[in-house]
C-alpha cells in the first residue's frame, strides 16, 4: 500500500520531467559544432596570445599585447572603428525610434511605409554601392546639386575626412528598418491603460514620455544599442565594397588590420587582437546590462 502511494507521487513528475534523453541528444550536434569551430579554437587562441611563437611555445605573458598597443596600424584602426561606432550607433538608435514612433501614430498607409523602411535590409549592399559611388563622386550628383542650389564648393566625399559621413549614411539606410521593427514591438507592449490613467491624472506629454514610455522601452533601447554596435563593427563590409582594399586612411578599420595580419599570418598578433576586441565587447555589453538593470529593471516581469 505504501509503495503504491509513492509510485503515484513519482509517476507524473517523471512523466513531465523535461530533461529527457531526446532533449539532450537534440542539443548535441549544435554543441559539438560550436565546440569544434568556436569554443576549442578560442581557448587555443587565448593560449597563443601568451606565447612568443607557435614553434618555440615560450610563455611571454603580456608581451604580445604590449607590442600590439605600440603598433600604429592597430591603434589607428581601433581609433577609426570606435569613432565610426560612436557616430553611427546613437544616430541609429534615435532615428529608428523616430521612425517607429511615426508608424505608431495615426498616419495613413502605415503598412506600406513599414515595407518601404524595411526594404533596404533585404537589398545586398554590393548591389546599391554603384548608386552611392555615383552620388558621392567628386563630379557626382550630390556635389552638382549642392553647387546648383547653394553654390557650395564641391567636396571630395570619398577621399577626404568626409568619407565617414558617406559610410554612416549607408549604414543607417541599411539598419534603420530592423531597429524600427524592434521599437515598434516594444511600443506595442506598453500597457495602454497605464498611459490613459496617467493622462487622466494630469500627467503631461513629457512626463508620460520620460517616466512611462522610456522606462518600458529601456530593454529595447539596450538591445538596439548593442545590435547597432555590433553592426557598426561590421561596417568594414560597406567600406570595402565602396572603396576596395585601400580606403582613405580615416576608414582604415580593425577588419582591414586583421586582413593584413592574416596575410602575414602572424598568429600572435591575430590572437592578441582578437582577445582585446572580445574583451572590449564583453565589457561594453556588460556595462549596458548593468545600466539597463538600474534604469528599467523595475518594469520587467
Amino acid at each position: 500500500m505504501k509503495k503504491k502511494i509513492k509510485e503515484k507521487k513519482l509517476r507524473p513528475s517523471k512523466l513531465t520531467d523535461t530533461n529527457t534523453v531526446f532533449a539532450r541528444l537534440s542539443l548535441l550536434p549544435s554543441f559539438l559544432g560550436v565546440s569544434v569551430f568556436f569554443i576549442i579554437p578560442f581557448i587555443i587562441i587565448i593560449w597563443y596570445s601568451f606565447l612568443d611563437n607557435p614553434i618555440n611555445k615560450d610563455f611571454v605573458f603580456l608581451q604580445n599585447y604590449e607590442t600590439l598597443f605600440k603598433n600604429n596600424a592597430f591603434l589607428t584602426a581601433a581609433k577609426n572603428t570606435l569613432l565610426l561606432s560612436a557616430v553611427a550607433v546613437p544616430l541609429a538608435v534615435i532615428l529608428s525610434l523616430g521612425l517607429a514612433s511615426l508608424l505608431d501614430s495615426k498616419i495613413p498607409c502605415k503598412s506600406l511605409f513599414r515595407t518601404f523602411f524595411l526594404c533596404p535590409m533585404m537589398v545586398p549592399v554590393a548591389s546599391v554601392v554603384l548608386i552611392w559611388q555615383v552620388v558621392f563622386h567628386y563630379h557626382g550628383t550630390l556635389n552638382a546639386v549642392m553647387a546648383e542650389w547653394f553654390g557650395a564648393a564641391p567636396v571630395d566625399w570619398m577621399k577626404s575626412s568626409k568619407c565617414m559621413i558617406v559610410v554612416v549614411l549607408l549604414f543607417l539606410w541599411k539598419n534603420l528598418g530592423y531597429n524600427m521593427i524592434l521599437f515598434l514591438a516594444a511600443l506595442n507592449n506598453i500597457p495602454k491603460d497605464l498611459l490613459e490613467v496617467a493622462e487622466l491624472e494630469g500627467a503631461g506629454k513629457l512626463y508620460r514620455l520620460l517616466h512611462i514610455k522610456l522606462r518600458y522601452l529601456s530593454p529595447t533601447i539596450l538591445f538596439v544599442t548593442i545590435l547597432s554596435l555590433i553592426n557598426s563593427f561590421k561596417l568594414f563590409r560597406e567600406v570595402y565594397l565602396l572603396t576596395g582594399d585601400y580606403p582613405y586612411e580615416d576608414l582604415y578599420l580593425l577588419q582591414h588590420f586583421m586582413n593584413n595580419t592574416f596575410k602575414s599570418l602572424d598568429y600572435q598578433k591575430l590572437s592578441a587582437a582578437a582577445m582585446i576586441m572580445s574583451l572590449v565587447m564583453v565589457v561594453i555589453i556588460g556595462a549596458m546590462f548593468i545600466a539597463e538593470n538600474k534604469f528599467g529593471g523595475d518594469v520587467e516581469e
Binding site: P12, T16, T18, N19, T20, F22, A23, R24, L25, S26, L27, P29, S30, G33, V34, F37, F38, I39, P41, L102, F113, F116, F117, L118, C119, M121, M122, V123, P124, V125, A126, S127, V128, L130, I131, Q133, V134, V135, H137, H139, T141, A144, G177, I181, L182, A185, P219, T220, F223, I230, K234, F236, R237, L241, Q255, F262, L270, A273, A274, I285
Partner: protein
C-alpha cells in the same frame, strides 16, 4: 468649449499631415537607391558611359566613347534596352559563375544552420539546470562577437583540418553559427509549458512532441530564420576574403565591387540580378521577417 475642441482637432490634423509628409520623404530616401539601380539596369552601355563615365573612368583610365564632365544621375533611361541583361546572361559566363558561387556558399549554410538550430533550440527550451543556462549565455556572447574576433578561431580550425581555400571553411562554421539557435529558442520558449505536459501525460513520445507540437508552433519563426540567415550569408564579404584565396571561388558580393574596373555597362544589371532572390523573399515573406525580428528583440529570456 466646443470651439476649443475643434481647434485642438485641427492642430492634431496638421501634425498628422506633417508626419505623413515626413514618412513619405523618408520612404523616398529608403527606396531611391534600389529603384535607381533597377531603372539604370535598362540602360545601354553607351548611355552609361555618357552619364557615369567619370565615376568609373578614374579606374579604367578613360574610354574612346564620349564622356561628359559631370555625372548625370538618371531616373529613367533615354532608351530602354535589355542589352545589359543579354550580355550578362549569354556573353559573360563569369558573372553567372560568381552567382553560382554565392548560391553554393549560402544555401547549405541557410538550410543546415536552421536544421541544427531547430533541434538545439528544442534542447534549450526543454532542458533545465545551471549548465544549460551557462551554455546558452555562451551562445549569446558568441553571437554578439564581430567577424574580427570569430574569424581567427575559424581560420585556425580551417587550417588544422586542411579546409583552407575550400568552401567548407565558410560553410561549416556557418552551419554552427549560433544566431538561429538563439532566435528559435526564444520562439520555442513561448510555447506554453502545459502543451508539453498534456502531450506527455497522453503518452506522446518526444519525437511526436517535437514534430507535432513544437514544429508547427515555431514554423513562422523558422521561415524568418531562413530569411535572416540567407540575407546575412548572401551578403558575405569578410569570410571569403580571408578563407578563400582563390578569387574564382569568390561570391558575387565581392566580385561586384570590382566590376567598375571592367564592364561598367553591365554593373547595374548584375546588381539587379544579385538583389532579386532576397527581394523576392522579402515580397513573399515580409510578415515572417517582421515576426522574426520581433522575436530577436531582448537578449534576456
Amino acid at each position: 468649449m466646443k470651439k476649443l475642441r475643434t481647434h485642438r482637432k485641427v492642430g492634431e490634423k496638421v501634425i498628422l499631415a506633417i508626419m505623413t509628409i515626413f514618412a513619405a520623404a523618408a520612404s523616398i530616401i529608403f527606396l531611391l537607391p534600389t529603384v535607381l539601380t533597377i531603372t539604370n539596369s535598362f540602360m545601354a552601355q553607351s548611355e552609361i558611359n555618357a552619364n557615369y563615365g567619370v565615376v568609373f573612368s578614374s579606374v579604367t583610365g578613360g574610354g574612346k566613347t564620349f564622356i561628359s564632365e559631370k555625372v548625370n544621375l538618371k531616373f529613367i533611361p533615354d532608351i530602354v534596352s535589355f542589352s545589359q541583361y543579354y550580355s550578362v546572361l549569354f556573353k559573360t559566363p563569369d558573372y553567372l559563375l560568381k552567382f553560382w558561387n554565392s548560391v553554393i556558399l549560402t544555401v547549405p549554410v541557410v538550410i543546415f544552420q536552421t536544421v541544427v538550430a531547430l533541434f538545439a533550440s528544442y534542447g534549450f527550451a526543454r532542458l533545465t539546470g545551471k549548465l544549460k543556462e551557462i551554455l546558452f549565455f555562451f551562445y549569446i556572447v558568441l553571437m554578439l562577437m564581430p567577424y574580427q574576433v570569430t574569424l581567427v578561431p575559424n581560420y585556425l580550425v580551417a587550417e588544422k583540418l586542411g579546409l583552407l581555400n575550400t568552401r567548407w571553411a565558410i560553410i561549416l562554421p556557418g552551419i554552427f553559427s549560433p544566431f538561429a539557435v538563439f532566435l528559435l529558442t526564444k520562439a520555442m520558449k513561448r510555447i506554453p509549458k502545459t502543451y508539453f505536459e498534456a502531450a506527455m501525460l497522453d503518452g506522446a513520445s518526444e519525437l511526436q512532441i517535437f514534430t507535432n507540437i513544437c514544429y508547427p508552433m515555431v514554423r513562422s519563426a523558422v521561415f524568418s530564420v531562413l530569411m535572416l540567415v540567407f540575407i546575412d550569408y548572401w551578403n558575405m564579404v569578410e569570410q571569403p576574403l580571408i578563407l578563400l584565396n582563390d578569387e574564382q571561388m569568390h561570391p558575387l558580393s565581392i566580385f561586384l565591387s570590382k566590376i567598375n574596373t571592367g564592364d561598367t555597362g553591365l554593373a547595374f544589371a548584375v546588381a539587379v540580378i544579385y538583389m532579386t532572390p532576397s527581394l523576392l523573399m522579402f515580397l513573399y515573406g515580409e510578415d515572417y521577417l517582421v515576426e522574426g525580428i520581433t522575436y530577436s528583440g531582448g537578449i534576456k529570456g
